[in-house]
Amino acid sequence: MTVADKTVSGTKVSITIDGQPVEVDQGQTILDGCRSAGVDTPTICYADNLTPVNVCRVCVVEVDGNRTLVPSCSRPAEEGMVVHTDSDRVRHSRKMVLEFLGSGVDLSQATEIGPWMDHYGADTARYGESPEGMNETVKIQDDLYIRDYDKCVLCYKCVEACGDDAQHTFAIAVAGRGFDARISTEFDVELPESACVYCGNCIGVCPTGALQFKSEFDMREAANWRPEEHTVTTTVCSYCGVGCNLELHVQDDTIVKVTSPADHSVTSGHLCVKGRFGWQYVQPPTRR
């Protein structure tokens, strides 16, 4: 008796990116091709462990024969595709997207977006003063999370991580339309009253610091958050037997934040409340 092996089909697709021939697996996206070709591409709403939702439009590229720019993060590569990532049209579009975002949102902690603003020469001041609705009070409803709506770019990542891309808790969604659109709990109840189970997977995917560990927020407020000094050590969570890898971010010999690698086969970057927040017993006043 034999058992059939399940193997992925090995079909390859050939495309051209900025004049360079690139081969990707069938089903992979233009973004995957850009990455394997070493072409840096900005993304905001895209993450390796989430399904693309195509809302930020910052990863757009020009594809010969396509009328509009296409989002590289979700468009599968097709045989013979000719892709331009650095044409005037692409640069202009990416610059505009970044300027619009930066004109209405506080991107000061969006460490991955900042360099792209510089790269494309995005000038948010072109659109005048900050719009109404900024300077909202930071929402602090418990000891684990803060929500700072001034920093939210509505990328949907938190909604996806809370929903069917990972956690399946569905505690948050986008409520309202247009300028009123915002991430909300059901009926805008306080977080502890919502369906939230405090896995922190929304924080894990937030690109701007709009969702943040309360511990990080407090350290930032005290001007004591020094990421350039952080060491990051990968280890295994101490609770149940699933074996989730944790990345311990350490400052001054103290754990200040926990994440999980997105490419880890066990977690895909997602954790539960114990893994994400349960490390604090390592350093209570009684031990240190």
Binding site: K6, T235, V242, Y281
Partner: protein, 545 residues
């Protein structure tokens, strides 16, 4: 049944299987990230059946919840086996080639008709039938379980009753099909693998096996006692008989976690010598003659742990241990030195390499490979072996890999030892809540906004009968003792059943109530089935103590 103790399957397999039986496990809360893999399976179209006395948060994701009477799992499994046989859904080639004892099993389960089993288990015959047909006709299927199966006095019977179903259908030993006990602690698998079992040396080699022992003796230059030691539960019995008088506890808190806790504490207090090695001054440490302050294994020292999919992964030192706290390896080495043996100052990698030289399961797992390959799943017998995503592929080999066929086991329904009485008419079962863990030594370190404490979950109908309201403080008594608790009305729990966690022993000494009846073969206590009564505080006059 199949040899070495470990879950047969990789997490990835539950994403690709067709039918999932989640049996006695609330993985949504107790193994949340494993449940993410289950959810991926459900998204791809797998059907899930959840067997649990409670309609748990896991059950709410299932296609069907089978609300079983506490402790009637063998009956349900036998009925499913009978229905699979009666409906011709057996894998006859597999049974003939890879198993033995089928005819006996078939005769044995004959009495477990759908109707008879409905009476024993409380599960409707139609539901039993549907689950049997789904499992029996699936191309691939997995049975997942946790302590709902093993925290019973007939734990081993429960496990083999589930294994029988895999043997009937061939749902074991191949990708997507398997038997998966989810491990409740981050290294309970690794501890067993390393020989922290009374009758095993590292790599599940028997301590009674002269040849296996000789290999260890040759390397260690010392004779090993060939008599198997004692399970934790047996240790407490030996303390009770006055035979065990000195105990060395490493990273465990039995003074809070044991069943029938007052009795356990009395025994610990009565020891001549109690040594505790822990990162905290736990309640057990408070009873100790000597306390060794230890480092946090996963954040302050280097080593490995092994997960529920048998994946050995590195833990790494990220911060320094405080004060005088020392690495476990260093403490044990110093202790040996005081006893006149100098083991030098081995690193965790040195010890790992020694283990690899003794345990064929781990021989191919060099420190380098563990780093580079994101951990490896045992067995991994050589450096060019990729590790094993699933176990027992030999069942499908023409020569069974040189082994004998896997035996069916004939086991019978055997209800919980503590029966319900007029005095104690409610069934109490215990378990974990999402944001907490065991006796709270670790999970007590953070302020969870969703923590509700050890409340007693009760069906509103039972509460109404007692004249008790949601949130009311009541007196909860079992034949062993009483504690005060708050009531949480919970429609998801059936009439006649109550449930609580045991995470806050400082507030509610839940294990005052639980029974220390246990399975002598596994040593696991029947935490899942005590009998209790609930009284209004006004009527009882409250606790005197």
């Amino acid at each position: 049944m199949f040899g070495a103790g470990g879950g047969t399957s990789s997490y990835k397999e539950v994403e690709e299987t067709d039918v999932i039986l989640l049996w006695g496990s609330n993985a949504r809360e107790a193994h949340p990230i494993y449940f993410h893999h289950v959810l991926k399976g459900l998204e791809k179209g797998a059907k899930m059946y959840c067997v649990d006395p409670r309609r748990t948060s896991s059950a709410k994701f299932a296609d069907m919840w089978l609300g079983i009477n506490v402790g009637s799992d063998v009956a349900l499994a036998n009925a499913i086996g009978r229905e699979i046989i009666a409906s011709g859904l057996t894998n006859d080639d597999f049974i003939a080639h890879s198993t033995e004892g089928f005819e006996d099993y078939k005769a044995h389960v004959e009495n477990y008709t759908l109707e008879a089993t409905e009476l024993l288990t409380g599960v409707p015959a139609s539901a039993i039938k549907e689950m049997a047909h789904a499992y029996g006709s699936a191309e691939t299927a997995q049975i997942l379980w946790t302590l709902g199966i093993t925290e019973h006095h007939n734990a081993v019977d429960n496990v083999v009753a589930l294994c029988n179903l895999a043997l009937l259908t061939g749902h074991v030993g191949r990708w997507g099909s398997g038997l998966v006990p989810l491990r409740g602690q981050n290294n309970v698998q690794g501890g067993g693998d390393m020989g922290a079992l009374p009758n095993k040396l590292a790599g599940f080699q028997d301590v009674v096996d002269d040849e296996a022992r000789a290999k260890f003796e040759a390397l260690w230059g010392h004779e090993i006692n060939p008599t198997p030691g004692l399970h934790l539960t047996h240790m407490f019995e030996a303390m009770d008989r006055g035979e065990l008088t000195a105990v060395y506890v490493i990273g465990e808190n039995p003074a809070d976690s044991e069943a029938d806790i007052e009795h356990a504490r009395k025994l610990l207090r009565g020891l001549d010598c109690l040594v505790v090695q822990d990162i905290f001054m736990t309640r057990t440490a408070e009873l100790a003659d000597v306390v060794f302050p230890a480092s946090v294994a996963w954040a302050e020292s280097d080593g490995t742990v092994t997960s529920s999919e048998r994946r050995v992964q590195r833990v790494r030192k990220a911060v320094n241990a405080p004060g005088e706290a020392k690495d476990d390896i260093e403490i044990i080495g110093e202790l040996a030195r005081r006893m006149g043996v100098d083991w030098g100052n081995p690193t965790s990698e040195d010890l790992w390499d020694e283990l690899r030289s003794l345990s064929p399961l781990h021989a191919g797992m060099s420190w380098r490979r563990l780093e580079d390959e994101g951990g490896l799943q045992w067995p991994c017998p050589s450096m060019d072996h990729p590790g094993s995503p699933f176990l027992h592929g030999w069942l499908w080999e023409d020569d069974l890999g040189g082994r004998g066929p896997a035996p069916f086991s004939c086991v019978d329904d055997d209800p919980p030892i503590e029966q319900l009485t007029d005095e104690f008419p409610l069934r109490l079962t215990t378990g974990r809540a999402l944001d907490s863990y065991n006796t709270g030594v670790q999970s007590g370190g953070f302020n969870s906004p969703i923590r509700y404490g050890d409340e007693l979950d009760l069906n509103p109908t039972d509460a109404a009968g007692l004249g008790i309201e949601n949130g009311e403080r009541v007196l909860v008594s079992s034949p062993r003792g009483s504690v005060e608790m708050n009531i949480r009305l919970q429609p998801d729990i059936p009439v006649g059943l109550s449930f609580t966690t045991f995470h806050f022993p400082e507030l509610v000494d839940t294990n005052v109530l639980t029974t220390d009846q246990y399975d002598p073969r596994s040593g696991t206590a029947e935490f899942k089935a005590a009998s209790i009564r609930v009284d209004k505080l006004a009527a009882s006059g409250g606790l005197n103590a």
